[in-house]
Symmetry: C2
Subunit: 142 residues, 2 copies
């Protein structure tokens, strides 16, 4: 119950967010500035740890800082509608699906590259060919 004081190094260890990154999050206002000790050291508490963990997880999931800011604000106003949080997550889901599709196409192409490249002793290396040809025939598709 008492406010256990947590140093920045402790916080880093417990949340997996690096020390300079914690300071950076404070600087950009993602994490509130904690009180300081007599010696000017940051004094975090459990709530800060939660917030940091939340931020870290959201970042890992690919949310950008703007999104996280919104999500944090929402989570601090728990009686408000979750429509916004939902739409942030939806938007993100669509982005992730697009990225997966693109990467799968890429994987196919890379696979083809290494397959073709590996077999020719005359080294008709297709790596560059594949990329160039593909590039040209796709000029107007995107």
């Amino acid at each position: 119950m008492s406010a256990r004081v947590i140093s920045i190094g402790e916080a880093a260890r417990q949340t997996g967010v690096k020390v300079p990154t914690i300071r950076f999050y404070e600087q950009i206002g993602l994490l509130p500035s904690p009180p300081r000790s007599d010696g000017n050291r940051r004094q975090f508490d459990e709530k800060d740890l939660s917030r940091l963990s939340f931020i870290r997880h959201a970042r890992e999931l690919g949310f950008e800082v703007g999104d996280i800011r919104e999500l944090l604000a929402l989570s601090e106003a728990p009686q408000s509608s979750c429509h916004e949080a939902d739409s942030i997550a939806w938007r993100h889901l669509r982005e992730v699906e697009a990225r997966i599709a693109k990467l799968q196409a890429l994987r196919g192409e890379l696979q083809r590259m290494v397959d073709e490249c590996g077999h020719g002793k005359v080294c008709e290396c297709q790596v560059i060919q594949v990329l160039t040809d593909h590039a040209r025939c796709r000029n107007e598709t995107h």
Copy 2:
């Protein structure tokens, strides 16, 4: 056969690489500096278009500039072994597969978030719940 002169704007339109980005690529030595007109305008040719398309495609596929530099160098010394290009492609293939796996996990999680969002209040919203809970239970795993 004659060297058709292509302006930077034309090049941008044809390759889908933005004008400032083309200049940037020239600056970092990814694209050779083209000759200039009397009025100091860049004069690109077909070969530059290929190169730009190649670069764009490779960037879309997630190659970083260093890789592209290597691949371009290899493509310009075609008698050299394709072993290097092959290993670049291999390295990248593994990376891409890892990325796909990560994104698929992420998609599942996001999907769950939005599925479970009851469209009620934030206090019941899974988007925030998932982020918070997950964050806490994963503190030490990474």
